[in-house]
Symmetry: D2
Subunit: 268 residues, 4 copies
Amino acid sequence: MIQITVIQIDNYGPWTVTPNPRRESDLQALQSRLYCDLNLQFGAHKGLVFYTRFDNLIAITNGIDITTHERIQNSIKNRYPFTVSMAVASAKTPYEAQKLATKKIQEHGSAQDEYRKEILDVANDFVFDNGYVQLAHVDINNITKTLTDLENAYDTYINVKEVHLKLMRELKKYGAMCFFIGGDNFMCPCNGMSEGDFINIFNDIKKSTGVELKAGIGIGKTAEYASNMADIGLELIRDGKTEYQVCTLNHENYDIKKKSARNFLCPI
Amino acid sequence: MIQITVIQIDNYGPWTVTPNPRRESDLQALQSRLYCDLNLQFGAHKGLVFYTRFDNLIAITNGIDITTHERIQNSIKNRYPFTVSMAVASAKTPYEAQKLATKKIQEHGSAQDEYRKEILDVANDFVFDNGYVQLAHVDINNITKTLTDLENAYDTYINVKEVHLKLMRELKKYGAMCFFIGGDNFMCPCNGMSEGDFINIFNDIKKSTGVELKAGIGIGKTAEYASNMADIGLELIRDGKTEYQVCTLNHENYDIKKKSARNFLCPI
Amino acid sequence: MIQITVIQIDNYGPWTVTPNPRRESDLQALQSRLYCDLNLQFGAHKGLVFYTRFDNLIAITNGIDITTHERIQNSIKNRYPFTVSMAVASAKTPYEAQKLATKKIQEHGSAQDEYRKEILDVANDFVFDNGYVQLAHVDINNITKTLTDLENAYDTYINVKEVHLKLMRELKKYGAMCFFIGGDNFMCPCNGMSEGDFINIFNDIKKSTGVELKAGIGIGKTAEYASNMADIGLELIRDGKTEYQVCTLNHENYDIKKKSARNFLCPI
Amino acid sequence: MIQITVIQIDNYGPWTVTPNPRRESDLQALQSRLYCDLNLQFGAHKGLVFYTRFDNLIAITNGIDITTHERIQNSIKNRYPFTVSMAVASAKTPYEAQKLATKKIQEHGSAQDEYRKEILDVANDFVFDNGYVQLAHVDINNITKTLTDLENAYDTYINVKEVHLKLMRELKKYGAMCFFIGGDNFMCPCNGMSEGDFINIFNDIKKSTGVELKAGIGIGKTAEYASNMADIGLELIRDGKTEYQVCTLNHENYDIKKKSARNFLCPI
């Protein structure tokens, strides 16, 4: 089971244009600061937040209880010109969990309802030791040499966005999600997926676009443990220490589990 | 002429994994803070920055001279665990300008060259009064009712990303760019494009996806003036005060220029 | 027992002038950001940090373990151009605890030793349920009417600094400390002091300077609980609901303990 | 002439306790972030801000016009849960300038008037090329060896605060101000003071307390130029390249002006 929190700025759109449209550089500064703060504050409890649409964010929050959510929500109110609503849900797959969480937040009214404020609700159960997070840290092989140092900045950007969209569409079939985390890096909550699934997806993408991908896959009780493992797995691939372009590490034993492409990853 | 600055963190990839991979929530906090600061600092001089890939950013910098660039570059070195390189270029279209700027930065070495540090170079001329910025602020009609309040957060996100990619591809044909600025909003540097061009693109996207778009288009001597005008134009459309889903305002006269769909916008 | 953490930027002075003195507004931005982040990150675990000298900070950390300290230390390294060292100690009084913590950090070398980096050490025991934090939130009666709205900004500032120094000197006699927290507010870690002690100090200060002070005193297992109680106590005094200019609240029972001026506060 | 801006958070005190007292670590984070942002935003135009009481700040703003003030004020409103008021004044001495600025802000109502919002007013003239900033960067000789590495953190802090108060009192006699900028450093706006004045003050402080001080004094058209010069002056003293513990540099000629202790500094 993975636990997902959906975070939504309350009635944000109307605020940005009241009484007049606010300066765009200020809004970009404000939104990125919120994202920064949420990562520091959920990160303090081993969670991880993705910026998604900036006014609607998705976080992995295994191990983080309702009181901690409430304290973070409170801290935002204490320092920002707006409030945020949050809903928490758990499920076997990340996609399903965010779906339940979104539904819960929607039950309380519209994102642009001026009276809906600081909702904090829970769809089902919190996940502490009874679950795990599985994260794939995906990157593009040799992007610096093949794109960044060769192509213009915008075309490289388009390339990365195309890969992102392809990954989003493919991973959704497995109930997994894919978030861009900068450079040529994607972080994919993917509970239940196997190394073989990733290898198949990467092969398809290579065939249709020529872009080669690799993934460190990490498993742990929290988003932080899982992403640490995913990062180390990716380093092992970069160092040529793995057979495939996929490498899975589990925080519980911290051993490299060399899996045949067909094996399922997660005996947890 | 529009002036574009390409900003690149020096040798960032290797740093993120030395000596070991750094905590992901910290990296997300760090990158978003850099984006926040760059918007405040370029924003202080009426520029506007887009996060693009977070380690490679694109800014509109009409009216901002080399000394100001150097001071911002310096300020980043003084407060961050890394340095940034910058290259400035101007051209008739935004796409062309970023291309020239990227080339200039690439001449000094690889993004992952450990000796290339704090490059600050200029491809051609700075743009002060001899140019203008044209920005289209595009959003999706009625997204709160049709997506945010109905669909799950991740599917809405995918929808927005699909629109983004479509806009990127279409606008590139005109030498324009498209950046996501949160929610359902896109900011498109688009010097030289007409209202008719946007109406055509929006019609095509509506036909192929059902998604309806609108755009406030702003023209001004700086990114700030242009984006202010674009925002006001968008408000006029939202308030039903325009004939078409596109509305152009020029900061110089601050009048609504009702254009037939075929007219060209920019007599500047 | 109260637990204090002393935090020191490693070799900061030399860094600020290498290779040349860095822009002062950047240094002020950097130092205040560190203070901000430390409060968010220790605050996420119910701690509280005081800026003290900005390069040497003092935090109340009851209930915060070594791993959390290490994670915060790590997060600073991941996002700042410098590292920090930390030492933790506990004692019956705040003054004694910071003294032990400072000694521990000094054992590892000079603040300007270029090789001493990221020390994390503990003088004695961590305090979880076996201790408490006592905080007095002191402010100046009616400062807005008597100073802020009447005097010039700098003279008001001098007045507040004079009160601060007086409080520091008086409270030290009791093993307590006093930190400025903005406006006319002081936060005083003061385990073991009675309401009577504060009343005596306030009377002396009134006699010698004419300035009238009041204090909400809070007791709790963590800095956050204690400061919350102190804040509520101060509000009760402001609302005229107390007999004296001192009001103590204990988070455990959350009852107003009306004490005669002679009674000792802390039966914990 | 020096130009000073007094900045005041509107109706801040009441906000911090409405509806209930807000978490102290959040307030500290919020106030220090405001200070950070103001330094970045005034710093972008070569100004310098001092935190003073955090809800009342004092800035040196030579060369910064009304529009830039308004843009910064606007940016704060766009990103914070409160607004700020500002008043600008110029005078021969820094003390006199802040006095005029404070008076101007007070004319508009109380700091805790709930209807007084976002005042922006000017007492007299803006200072562009018709003036200069003189800043003394004062520090304590050898504090690391004599205090930081020997004494406990809090006693060192008290020592520094005592020096601060002494400097504030002495400098006020000359119409100068003194702000703590971290570590053992003080920044003193001191238009019109001579090196001899500082040498006399330092001698007095040495006699009464044993603490030895030194000062780099910088003169320039803006706070940034002046503080850069002050920093370089201080480095020259540290390197033993000056006769006295005071060294003045003027940004216009960037030469070391070795003055006899009796000479006046500022022919500007």
